[in-house]
Symmetry: D3
Subunit: 235 residues, 6 copies
């Protein structure tokens, strides 16, 4: 789905922790990508539609330096990325061959891609850091992708970090990692998450004041009444 600026702004104000909780309450438990964590400290929260990339394992006749010039290559995939998407790469968790280095990351940034999320790794870590592009990845490795991976296409359904991602799903990422919001549930998440964030902010103040947890979190009827009164008083 295509997010409008208001939707982006709301999601940018919600933590991934809250989003996974909201989705779990709808019965969707498997939304958190295992592996991708922030490449650099202090990266801004990432929100955008998923643009998927797919790798399969290395096969020495196909995963060659020549393959980088093929029409089915990461190079062409990057040129196909629209402005504002989040590139999500299924590297099958391969930890000893990197999907991208500084050159490709720099080109993604130049094209206005919002960020990159992968269960694989990055190379040229020093160069990538200089590019200053938001990346959630599963580590760093020196070898090029073709040492372990064969690129096979983009905008297909993928697995990433043990989670299914379809083109059009929405990806969010922050210091807790990355999660997918299924396209059909984006509206619901946008509707209920901000209130959940507000409640948790108030609860933290209560805890700081010395409140005990039972009855407070989750709130029982009495707590809810106090919270509603606080909200009314603020309104």
């Amino acid at each position: 789905m295509s997010l409008n600026p208001d939707q982006r702004a709301i999601l940018a104000g919600v933590t991934v922790a809250t989003i996974t909780t909201v989705l779990l309450k709808k019965g969707i438990r498997n939304t958190f990508l295992r592996g991708p964590m922030p490449f650099a400290e202090g990266q801004p929260r990432l929100v955008g539609e998923a643009f998927t990339l797919r790798f399969v394992p290395v096969r020495e006749d196909l995963a060659t330096p020549q393959s980088w010039s093929s029409p089915v290559s990461t190079r062409h995939a990057i040129e196909a990325m629209p402005h504002g998407v989040v590139a999500v790469a299924d590297a099958m968790g391969v930890a000893d061959a990197a999907i991208f280095g500084d050159l490709l990351v720099a080109r993604m940034k130049a094209r206005g891609v919002a960020g990159l999320v992968t269960d694989g790794t990055m190379r040229d870590a020093a160069g990538v850091a200089e590019v200053d592009f938001p990346i959630w990845c599963a580590g760093i490795a020196a070898p090029p992708s073709i040492a372990g991976l064969t690129f096979v296409g983009w905008q297909e359904p993928i697995a990433c970090g043990g989670v299914a991602i379809f083109p059009g799903d929405v990806i969010v990422a922050d210091g807790d990692g990355a999660a997918v919001i299924p396209a059909a549930l984006v509206g619901h998440v946008i509707e209920v998450s901000p209130e959940q964030e507000r409640l948790e902010g108030w609860l933290m103040e209560e805890v700081k004041r010395g409140a005990a947890l039972p009855g407070l979190y989750p709130p029982d009827a009495e707590t809810k009444a106090r919270y509603d009164a606080w909200k009314a008083g603020k309104g």
Copy 2:
């Protein structure tokens, strides 16, 4: 590629061990599927063109009993399988949800599919055994596929057991497990493998006669001469 009966017959007389050695000598080292082993003892050697199936991880909004009736379902994939192919399913090595049970396996057999190879698992093991269909899989598990997997399509490039497989590659399997022959190398494998098998048969006789290994295996010039003489004598 489409194998003709002669090609099938030759490949059916060659072990997977020999095929992986022949491919390694051409620089193709990653051809052996990690995980799939014979479901039943004494299964005949399996040879055929790969017909690929692809799963991604479970997502509870999509991996539902209703999805089994979808046009993108394993049911429709099976109906699309031509006679004589080897179905190869990328289950990402998921060990706690089974891709198929006895009903689907029985239908594959009815359609003339040559066999099934997967890095996933089978359920209804007793029922599957009764169907008597050649299967190489990575184990047995009771839960249905949708407990851990979402089916997304067929005849796409896949990963299976850490190996890349493309529609049109050839799959071979025996008691040592399963391997892929890249389409472009099938001719080469067919050309050199039978001679390799003959040589190894002769070498085993030499070992049984008490020959020491150095100089014998791999054969040095003197051994090669003796072998050639033996071949000439047989010819």
Copy 3:
């Protein structure tokens, strides 16, 4: 919960595959124990209430031969097992120390325990085989439990093979492995499973007759009507 003989008989006629499907349709996806598989070929289906055993990792000051004489020992736990229960042992998947050997298994059999399920391993495999007791385990290892485990108690909530099991849950096991039926859902499973088994039996006959899968499995309205007619005709 305590199963009556009728309930036992019904569950003994249902496959673990069917039970996990029935529970999944109720939203309970995590019921299949990863690891435990039949110790011996041809073991009868196992059904019974869970009697839990719990181990933590080895600590050399506690996991000693002397500990086997302690009141908190596997020996006393076995003497506390009622007739007909299924002993379920949380060994944390430890593969290099065995929880039980032939002597303890023989005593469980003598006490009328229905069977043993564990994510750990057995030792004295030859002796255990002679005892002829139904066991689902994750392998075989020679060292005694105290080489890797410390026994801490029984009839507590446990993890076994990645699944939560509470005293009073029901355990079922067959050739596909073992699963838990949460106590509160045993009635539901007993109610709907036999019909599911009957339907699948009829579907297999249809497949053998050459029926294609779409519309058949899962059955569409037309298939359901034919099945209902068949049932009526049998009635």
Copy 4:
């Protein structure tokens, strides 16, 4: 056991490295928790009696948002923690569901808990960092505990990071990670560790002066004599 202030002070001056060495010399090799590492840089050394928490895997009928209000919940467990203890949580190494976020950590801090050690993960990492509470954990993940875990109780024997921990054992943690001191060995550790630290400090000066390792570390008779002379000179 209950540590008195003198005991706490001594243990706070000893590294976890030294403690594991001292325990190994008593035959206790399995004391280091695999997984827990400092959540924040520069956390002070942690010392305290273990207060254990125990999780088992998720079961969707039990691990619900409603369970957070149950008497057997992490909320009630936290309210039961005495001042000065180290909370130690057995999360079975689950990496994709977090046991605690900022609210619960803030409450532990308010209650005077000394710190938290777990083989599981934390969520709301930014919020947790603001609370400024000493935590040793195995990573960060966004989903709530009930995405993967069911809480079952406190002050029971547990496994944490492959180590057995009993209520009353003492936990120590520093930049090298966390270890358990079995209750019965706390006195011994307190007795011999400070001398070991003093010796190692002197040895480091020797190495800096250019001493070779053989004969120095471990010290032979000549080295011991020199060390004793140094100690006497300092006395």
Copy 5:
């Protein structure tokens, strides 16, 4: 060490389970090799001095078909094996390249090697089965060793299945797997194991008669007295 026929005979009458228990009581807990299990059903118990083989990972410039003719090759290692030894191969647990096939196994048999133990895999499984040679391995794989391994030498200290093995240690293997007896402890194991086996045989009879476990196993004073009386009666 070199076993004399009497020592061999005694060890051949003791289970690996008993041997690991005897060694554990001497403080040696890490003696059981993780991975190696019987290649064929019904293999006789294996006893012999360790003859070690060592592999490191593949390096494509060294692990070539040409390397098989090198003086540092498995071929030359086999020719160096004395009669009666147990070949123990450190394959680092590599599961997707096989250390040996039928030809090399046949030559080991011809040389009077007692058996083979490895944490790696075998290829040409059908051919190996025909050779009828006692093998404990960690599975089967089709590719040759050089697909994943480089052979570097023999009769060096090795790791095998997570256990240290030195030339001269003794290896024992049965249906429970394989273990090492450190050379210095072989005498002790031979001294105490047969009595332990006799005791366990008597205990099994007691269990069959309906004896409860506490007090019986391990035996308390009363049980020991009864056992001693039984032994005296037999004597």
Copy 6:
């Protein structure tokens, strides 16, 4: 091989990413050590001949504090290290026992060792940081080596992080991790790598100017011509 100062200087100006690519183009894919990453931020690039160290798993009769005084000990190995080498330790990836602490690291520094690379872990992390010695390791753990490892020798072929390393190979390490250059290929790497670095530097400028990737990277004929012109213009 022994690097001369010019060779060292050239290699010190090349990234590990580039080196692994250059080796891959020669068919050597397995050169990147899985596990070792920089111990401290901002460590200078490391280059030097490999001096290997080898551990096998713990055996309690051998891995004792007394073993630290043995002639076959890490202490003696360190005293055998020539100036300028890179110590490379095969710890079999053991994560819960550390190979070295601050004392041994300080001695390596005093001896002029260039750095340490290991797939194992370090202890006394705070003390090691103070020594300020370049280390690539797989983590931190408190227990001493003998909690999990037995040291068996130096300057033998080893496995480290899944890669084969022979005495005389060259080790390079930077922020992307560590790799081996086989001795026979050091000349080739030195010959072609600097040009590759120069090309990539130019390519990055092109990307920053907005160039699209296809045709640029890898460069097609037109791009090569522009690059050659640029080089000529610089010359």
